[in-house]
């Protein structure tokens, strides 16, 4: 029998713009991560900087941002800049939703760890959050 893993469970912030009402995917991912015994904080943000403030308050290990209708690159770049300003540049960022080919190079340049589009297997999403959390906590 495997030794019981007593490491803390991942703490995740999932977020979406207050004006982007298409929240089916992120609500579904929140339930999937909870079913995988992660602690999930799900918020709408007004300013990209708010995302970082909440991430720090809630002491999360991964941030997941969902986009449906615009702001993919600009918002992500602002969050990355704020992470650097608050000296948590290594806090991993995952982006999902409608990510167009022309969004990908700037998102990768910004340091986004993973991009998930519609149809991505939920098991991959869960495994990615798990892995990024453990790495961030220095557990892997």
């Amino acid at each position: 029998m495997a030794m019981q893993d007593t490491a803390p469970r991942p703490r995740v912030l999932l977020t979406k713009s207050f004006i982007d009402s298409h929240d089916r995917a992120i609500a579904t991912i929140a339930l999937a991560l909870r079913d995988a015994a992660m602690e999930v904080v799900l918020i709408d943000y007004e300013q990209p900087e708010d995302v970082v403030a909440v991430a720090l308050q809630e002491d999360v290990d991964v941030i997941g941002i969902s986009f449906m209708s615009g702001g993919q690159v600009e918002t992500t770049q602002k969050i990355v800049a704020e992470l650097a300003r608050r000296e948590v540049a290594d806090l991993p960022l995952v982006v999902g939703g409608i990510i167009r080919p022309f969004d990908v190079p700037p998102l990768e340049a910004a340091g986004v760890r993973e991009i998930f589009r519609g149809g991505a297997p939920m098991a991959d999403v869960v495994a990615t959050f798990e892995r990024l959390s453990r790495t961030y906590r220095g557990l892997a």
């Binding site: 004006i19 009402s21 609500a27 999937a32 519609g118 149809g119």
Partner: protein, 558 residues
């Protein structure tokens, strides 16, 4: 001549024949198929219980709201249109018109505008934090003069304008009406639609919406104003589509749609509004997705339940208040980024289900919408899909062709039973607004969405090209790229607008709006908020400025 028609003068078939003769005089709607067989515009007979079957155009309208439908008036093709600045959208409008699209009823032009998310939620382009979304996925509009560009040279009496948006709906209608007024058009000649999705707390308006009670009060205000001043305007679209897209099942979505109608009607009754004056301008937006026969049955059930609720529960008597007008849209959430051409096929089946259901309007999504905003080629293919169904397949010759099918009739009855059971549960929980406030509704929808996703994950539900028949072919499809300059131009434009207008006049109009809001909140002067919105828009107030006042007065969700 159809065999098996009841002969009695008071039979549904005989009544239908008289209705057709009275309404269409001696026009002949029979078609002939390739083999030369003459086709009646609708077939009747005995239903599964041995009684003469209901006919189209007869209460409770299971088989359709008109005695003769596509044989006389085809569905209206309303491709969603809108991106960037008004001038850019206008270019796309002109292209669609050239391609034979944008056809409204009775030779009108018709446009189905979608707005970018800031506009949709009622924010101006210079609101902090919205910049990345300006002109992306819709048009940026925030002032009456934007409509002068969008609709330059159009005869608004011959143009049907449909506006698809959320919390920004009340202000958006005001911008359009103010622009029409400036161009000298009389309000009672203007036809169109504002979706007014402020009723939607199922996943589409979120924290930018008004408080649930404030939203339903505003819906009543707009309905009362339009009934008096803009009588041809459709003031509310209950979107079964949006509820489905948020993850609900068909039965849930129909039930919640009817529950929303009940909540609106109750609000109107409370405010002393005669339902027969406002309900005929309410309509539905229905999703056509993955369950071909269920889509048809749910449409038939929706029409029937709507008619029964409005007549039996609310005492509506006007036929227009009992007839569910339906705008169909194919399912966006079924569009896949993987093997995107498969979406053309999905959309065609969805559209066919809608046509066999007897809908009034149609939006067929573009096959590339899971990749980004549609390309011109993809938009054209959507229009061609509708044209092929309308003009090649013969599906339009006979109304309610599924009527009498053991399967579809039983499914229709079963959906009706389940819908009434959910409505009873919502009543027991204190009504829809109480269910929204408690979070129960949202929880129901999220649970259904999660269950659907788990079925995909486990393979119990197939999505071709996603969890079955997947390939790793390179995906090098063209994706439409919105203008990255749109944000800068829109912000500069609204700043210039604020600098050039009469700011004292604008501020006074916004004060009037605030006072009207307080009155309407107190249950008095219903209709005056919309009147003051139009006055404010005419005084060059922006969408976001009007929205700030409305949020103050009617509260914010959450």
């Amino acid at each position: 001549m159809t065999t098996g028609q009841a002969e009695a003068a008071d039979s549904p078939y005989a009544k239908w024949q008289r209705a057709v003769a009275a309404r269409y005089a001696d026009r002949n709607f029979a078609a002939r198929n390739r083999s030369g067989v003459e086709l009646d515009p609708v077939y009747g007979g005995l239903d599964r219980h041995g009684a003469p079957a209901e006919m189209p155009g007869q209460y409770p309208y299971t088989r359709g709201i008109y005695p003769i439908h596509y044989q006389y008036q085809p569905w209206m093709d309303l491709q969603i249109i809108g991106y960037g600045l008004p001038a850019q959208t206008r270019e796309r409008m002109d292209l669609l018109l050239e391609q034979g699209g944008s056809k409204g009823y009775f030779d009108r032009e018709a446009y189905n505008f979608i707005f970018d998310m800031p506009t949709s939620m009622g924010y101006d382009p210079d609101y902090p934090g919205v910049r990345g979304s300006i002109g992306d996925c819709g048009i940026s509009v925030c002032k009456a003069s934007d409509y002068e560009i969008l609709l330059d040279g159009k005869d608004l009496e011959r143009t049907t304008v449909s506006m698809v948006l959320n919390a920004g709906s009340p202000g958006m209608l005001a911008l359009y009406l103010a622009a029409a007024k400036r161009r000298g058009f009389a309000f009672d000649k203007l036809g169109g639609n504002v979706t007014n999705y402020i009723w939607d707390f199922f996943g589409h308006s979120g924290g930018t919406n008004f408080s649930p009670r404030g939203s339903y009060r505003l819906i009543a205000d707009i309905a009362a104003y339009c009934a008096r001043h803009v009588p041809l305007w459709n003031t509310l679209t209950i979107s079964e589509h949006n509820i489905c897209e948020a993850g609900a099942s068909n039965v849930q979505a129909v039930a919640y749609s009817i529950a929303a109608i009940i909540a609106v009607n109750e609000e109107c009754v409370k405010l002393g509004i005669d339902l027969d004056t406002v309900v005929p301008r309410f309509g539905f937006h229905v999703r056509y997705g993955e369950n071909f026969f269920e889509e048809i049955a749910k449409t038939r059930a929706l029409r029937r339940v709507y008619a029964k609720v409005n007549r039996e529960r609310f005492g509506c008597t006007k036929s227009g208040a009992l007839q569910a007008r339906i705008h169909a849209q194919t399912a966006g959430s079924l569009l896949t980024a993987q093997q995107p051409l498969n979406n053309l096929v999905r959309n065609a089946y969805g559209a066919l289900a809608a046509v066999l259901s007897g809908v009034n309007g149609m939006t067929i999504n573009a096959y590339d919408e899971a990749l980004g905003l549609p390309t011109e080629e993809a938009v054209t293919l959507s229009l061609r899909t509708s044209q092929i169904i309308a003009e090649e397949t013969g599906a339009v010759h006979v109304s309610d062709p599924m009527g009498g099918s053991f399967y579809v009739e039983e499914l229709t009855d079963e959906i009706e039973r389940r819908v009434f059971a959910i409505i009873a549960e919502i009543d027991e929980r204190g009504g829809l607004i109480a269910c929204i406030e408690s979070g129960w509704i949202k929880q129901q929808v999220s649970a259904a969405a999660y269950q659907w996703r788990q079925e995909i994950e486990s393979g119990a539900r197939t999505m071709v090209g996603v969890n079955k028949y997947a390939t790793d072919e390179p995906e090098n499809y063209a994706v439409f790229q919105p203008d990255p300059e749109a944000a800068r131009l829109a912000i500069a434009d609204v700043e210039r607008h604020r600098a050039q207008r009469d700011n004292a006049r604008c501020a006074a109009a916004l004060d009037d709006l605030r006072r009207a809001g307080a009155e309407v909140n107190a249950g008095r002067a219903v209709g005056s908020v919309m009147a003051m919105l139009v006055a404010a828009a005419d005084a060059d107030a922006t969408l976001g400025e009007m929205q700030t006042v409305l949020h103050d007065v009617f509260g914010r969700n959450k």
